[in-house]
Symmetry: C2
């Protein structure tokens, strides 16, 4: 890897792309940012170069990176699948991706997209390469630890969520007294949490990675909005996987958990895998 | 079984209890009905005896049945778990059920409830004993058969729904182009269908039985409301398991499917089991 060459950042919605730029800059790297889906406008200020490229215009992305001598590419930020699919217009490279895609699963689409980037000469790096500072180790992150009942629901939730994730359905479940109240599929974690709150107070939410997770783009993410949704849903605890989850704005997350008296815990992934 | 003794019917919400009474009467049996949760008021007219008993008052149920010499008991109708759990008040028998219940899963609660009934001397019959006329064999029930794309999504949905059901999470999923759009948990099938419709047009819904299904109370049910929900959600097909599903008001269901141009199909359960 040429440490003088800039990093290419493919940016979606949310705070992660900014985090990548800041960490890369701390390491003395320049960043060429391509906004593919509603990226934070602040990126125009912090990145060394910035392009807005329509989602299907993969040729535009490749051209922007080549212009700046990018070799190493990272992905960060959220691309909401359903709005994105409605909005996409495919160029010739995009058509190539579509032809390679066996179905419309997230992993199939992104996998085909990354394959085209890599055959075009770019190296797509692991997502945590410039985001390691956001990945918690095992332990209780909030002031309050889970109660015994919450810990039991967290264990149950880990088993259910692991199986849901293994089926490539979603990555999160809400559990109460050993019963699954809600399962995340296409609606996303925060919507699932809201629904669980309507059905039952006192749920515990568990969010895990996929066993077939691609570390180039697929780490689960939680942030202040997750905690807000859980508090409003009268949930009491959130568990994520240590070493495999990006926690955005951890100070705000912990403060919000404290305010809502939520237990927030990062569970060793090994504990889960042994159980699957 | 004493064919002169009346049948004891434990009735919840919906049309099934009426169906049981009518079929039992066609076979010359009298019916003693105990309404435990929002049962149809028409039961007071069609049953030979009728009692409204609070959900946790198992002693009241046993007493009513003994008064009429009931030996054979059947369950029919829906008890919405979450409202029911909020409303329940336990008598001494109810407390016995609660002590036997290892967790709050539907199957655990009802299993303990049936165990107390059976140790009290009642035989709890299979649910289809007086409902066999509502169980479809394999085949297309609607005027329109599934398209090739719908048939592929039905197969995918059977695989996903079987696994969800095996985890005792729920019994239905909504699928589009091989991707799971929504999974049913505590919210029920119709709510899940509505959510799927907000996320994506053109979903296929598959509803299956649990592998550990208890034939005394656990057959999946679809009816006109399911078809209405699917039509409003812009879904295009519904698949259920042949021989294991109760189809309520089949004439209305088929007419509603025809009106909405939905494909409605009962799939051989063996086809699913081979795939799990």
């Amino acid at each position: 890897m040429d440490a003088d060459a800039p990093i290419g950042l493919i940016a979606g919605r949310g705070a992660l792309p900014i985090e990548v730029v800041e960490e890369a800059r701390r390491r003395g790297r320049r960043v060429v940012c391509v906004d593919i889906f509603e990226a934070d406008p602040a990126l125009q200020r912090v990145a060394d170069a910035y392009y807005a490229v329509r989602l299907g215009d993969l040729g535009g992305i490749i051209e922007a990176f080549r212009r700046h001598g990018v070799r190493e590419v990272v992905l960060a930020g959220k691309v909401d699948k359903l709005p994105a699919l409605r909005r996409v217009r495919l160029d010739a490279h995009g058509e190539a991706v579509a032809r390679r895609t066996p179905d419309y699963r997230d992993t199939s689409i992104v996998g085909a997209f990354l394959a085209v980037l890599e055959t075009s000469g770019f190296e797509v790096g692991h997502q945590a390469r410039y985001l390691g500072h956001l990945v918690p180790g095992p332990g209780v992150l909030s002031p309050r630890a889970p109660s015994e009942a919450e810990a039991a629901d967290i264990q149950a939730g880990l088993r259910f969520a692991s199986r849901i994730a293994a089926l490539d359905i979603g990555q999160a479940v809400a559990v109460r007294n050993g019963t699954v109240v809600a399962v995340e599929a296409a609606e996303g974690t925060d919507e699932m949490i809201r629904r669980a709150g309507v059905l039952s107070a006192g749920v515990v939410v568990v969010k895990v990675s996929r066993p077939q997770q691609d570390p180039r783009y697929d780490l689960p993410v939680v942030g202040p909005a997750t905690i807000t949704a859980l508090g409003e849903a009268r949930g009491t605890a959130l568990a994520v996987e240590a070493g495999r989850t990006l926690v955005l704005e951890r100070d705000r997350v912990v403060a919000a958990a404290a305010d809502a008296d939520l237990a927030l815990v990062a569970v060793a992934a090994a504990a889960r895998d042994a159980d699957v």
